[in-house]
């Protein structure tokens, strides 16, 4: 048994920290925070140039053949530094899915630029009328010669305004059961007929509504078989829930501790000496450790060639729910001043705790809500009967 990521990971961590000191200036963090676009091309290309987007990929795809735990260490360091990682996260989900189920041509066309940091992908699953019930998607794709014609609307298409392609879930056969008439496509977002509007959120993140009006896509951009889209989704959703290590909860915990150690309270004593503060921070540290272990287990199962469906759901459920609860606890511990936002000189821990409180709520929603994760754990993990629907 060995819970360490290994010596090579420690070496990589040092390299990543040096890289971040050079390529992640405070301006980038501030800009990401203000625009809500958790992607930065200068940073991303630098990451690609180091070969780190594909760190754990085989050399044939332009990767570095590192072990998957090195990728975990890398992403942990990016998280702790507050680097923008949404583009990286989304693109790796799509890239891994293409590698799993795509054609040779698709691998040739999409994987090298994706791993080099030249393009990113958006995820086009959710629609105005279908979120948790993602298989109820209504966006239509109809065959026309060598092309498909897409019509419909997607909601919450995060980073569509930066992505080259959207990985789109579309209905190709409305006559059969909902899971059996779906097909996946890679739709170029500069295609005629694509429109998008920004959607702004409580956490400051920007996402988008995207519209598809007679958008033509060549058949070679279809991923998986016609009407076989649900199988592709199953793979992609597992990658979505299974790719994490540390989270914002770890970063903000560290920021909160650093702040409490260096700041005096109203009574003139160090904040870190307050038993209520100590209790909150200690308690959150435990939850974070559990989240880390559940994440590492997910990576471990994947590294052994398994598809960690239940493990990934457990991690996603635990980290998001405990982070949301702990963000509230940390804010309580700050009292009245806790409400001050980033940018106000008096904001405790530079306002990161206040921000976490607004941000954390979405982590229990996107990528499958907590209810969806619990359903997966109950049915596939515990073998409980499906609820009557």
């Amino acid at each position: 048994m060995d819970f360490s990521l290994g010596d090579r990971c420690e070496e990589l961590r040092t390299e990543v920290r040096e890289f971040l000191a050079e390529h992640l200036p405070q301006e980038t963090i501030d800009r990401v925070h203000e625009t809500g676009t958790a992607h930065d091309w200068t940073f991303y290309r630098a990451l690609g140039a180091r070969g780190w987007i594909g760190a754990a990929w085989p050399k044939e795809f332009g990767g570095q053949d590192r072990d998957p735990f090195e990728m975990t260490a890398l992403r942990d360091e990016l998280r702790l530094a507050g680097a923008p990682t949404d583009g990286l996260g989304q693109s790796l989900i799509v890239a891994r899915t293409i590698r799993h189920v795509g054609t040779e041509d698709q691998k040739q066309e999409f994987l090298p630029p994706a791993l080099a940091g030249e393009i990113i992908f958006a995820l086009g699953y959710s629609e105005p009328d279908s979120g948790s019930d993602v298989a109820a998607a209504k966006t239509r794709a109809t065959r026309d010669g060598d092309d498909w014609v897409i019509n419909g609307q997607k909601m919450f298409t995060t980073l569509a305004h930066e992505a080259a392609f959207v990985f789109l879930l579309a209905r190709t056969n409305p006559e059969v059961a909902k899971h059996k008439g779906l097909t996946m496509f890679l739709v170029p977002l500069d295609s005629p007929g694509v429109e998008m509007h920004p959607v702004h959120t409580m956490g400051g993140e920007r996402t988008n509504a995207t519209f598809y009006n007679d958008v033509r896509v060549p058949d070679r951009y279809r991923v998986g078989s016609v009407d076989g889209g649900w199988d592709v989704m199953t793979v992609a959703l597992t990658f979505e829930r299974g790719g994490f290590g540390l989270s914002d909860a770890d970063r903000v915990w560290q920021q909160a501790v650093a702040w409490a150690k260096t700041t005096l309270g109203d009574d003139g004593t160090p904040i870190i000496d307050d038993p209520l503060v100590r209790e909150r921070l200690a308690s959150m540290r435990i939850n974070n450790e559990v989240a880390k272990l559940l994440a590492y287990r997910t990576s471990f199962v994947a590294a052994r060639g398994g598809l960690p469906t239940v493990e990934g759901s457990m991690h996603k459920l635990w980290y998001s729910e405990s982070m949301t609860a702990d963000a509230g606890e940390l804010l309580d511990m700050l009292g009245a001043k806790g409400v001050l936002r980033r940018g106000d000189g008096d904001a405790p821990a530079d306002g990161w705790i206040e921000h976490l409180y607004r941000h954390a709520a979405v982590t229990t929603i996107y990528g499958g809500t907590s209810e969806v994760q619990r359903g997966i754990i109950a049915e596939r993990g515990l073998g409980l009967p499906r609820p009557g629907r």
Partner: protein
């Protein structure tokens, strides 16, 4: 990273699991109540490796590391076996560490008919150690008196009726006690024993939680109301899914704490505290949910889930109020606080 058990560990787990399933079903747990000790089970477990299993081979023990021991206490907790194996393992490791002064006592633990030994968790005051786990059955008790690590032996007093039906009792350290170590060495030995106790108890609580979860899941699949299995009601499934997640987390955290101690990681003491607090909370939640899933039947003595419910709470109180445990963890993480 390697989260799998190695082949020896798999064998170890299989052996203890099979032993407890066969030799310590709930009927055995029940018939040992309220004293919480089955002497015949104790004499039989020695064949698998008694309390000295975690003592170096050179000192006559089994040479197992803390990870191996935590795998055993997972099985111990899963079965609620009424034997002082966990306490004995801790005591044996302390006695092995002190060297010559502990040799004679250690020999009684490495023997094929091992004595019952324990460690008092809280310091001795006025010659008394309070609420000693297994204090009601132990012939040998290690305690910290001032800056001396001491050993008392003798007839155990009558145990006290308690929530977990465990053989807990106060022990006196009279004039005939032996000093095992003194000064900073004694303090360190006791602190290490406490962290090992936290870690092994975390394993036991994780095992308890896993069994309680299993009881809840089984009942939820079988019990029907409104014409369907109650497990198909989402609020039931939801609680069980939350518990399953926490139990997996608690199990891994206990193992991580043990691993960290085995390889001398600097964060091992913090992990021991985290593992103990989290596993205690998780075991309570698991047995609480499982009891609730059983409806009124879960509240009756006839059903087993109450056995787990009571012990989950009792075991988590042995070191005092868990919120003070969080304060102690904070001391490890941030250094001692000025205002306590």
């Amino acid at each position: 990273m390697d989260l799998d058990l190695n082949p020896q560990q798999q064998d170890l787990v299989a052996a203890f699991r099979a032993f407890f399933l066969k030799e310590s079903p709930p009927s055995v747990v029940r018939s040992a109540e309220p004293h919480g000790f089955d002497p015949s089970l104790w004499s039989r477990v020695a064949q698998l490796g008694g309390p000295a299993i975690g003592v170096p081979e050179g000192s006559g023990g089994g040479g197992a590391g803390l990870v191996d021991l935590v795998l055993i206490t997972e099985q111990l907790g899963a079965s609620l076996a009424p034997i002082p194996l966990l306490e004995g393992m801790i005591a044996a490791r302390v006695l092995a560490r002190v060297g010559d002064s502990g040799r004679e006592a250690l020999e009684r633990l490495t023997s094929s008919a091992p004595a019952v030994a324990t460690v008092a968790l809280t310091p001795v005051r006025d010659g008394q150690a309070r609420m000693v786990p297994a204090g009601g059955i132990a012939e040998l008790v290690v305690g910290l008196d001032g800056s001396d690590l001491v050993l008392a032996s003798g007839e155990p007093p009558v145990g006290r009726r308690n929530l977990g039906d465990s053989p807990v009792a106060d022990r006196s350290f009279g004039a005939d006690r032996t000093v095992l170590a003194s000064g900073s060495a004694a303090l360190e030995l006791h602190a290490t024993a406490l962290n090992e106790w936290r870690t092994l108890t975390a394993g036991a609580q994780a095992g308890l939680g896993a069994t309680a979860l299993g009881l809840g899941v089984e009942y939820a699949k079988q019990r029907k109301q409104f014409g369907v299995p109650i497990g198909s009601f989402q609020s039931i499934a939801r609680d069980l899914a939350d518990v399953a997640t926490a139990v997996d987390g608690a199990t891994m955290l206990a193992r991580e704490a043990a691993w960290a101690a085995d390889v001398c990681q600097t964060d091992a003491p913090a992990l021991a505290g985290m593992a103990f607090l989290f596993a205690g909370r998780t075991a309570q939640k698991a047995s609480g949910v499982a009891l609730h899933v059983h409806g009124g039947y879960g509240f009756t003595l006839e059903y087993d889930v109450q056995l787990y419910y009571r012990r989950a709470k009792a075991w988590s109180l042995a070191l005092g109020d868990p919120r003070r445990g969080l304060q102690a963890l904070a001391d490890v993480l941030f250094g001692p606080g000025a205002r306590t």
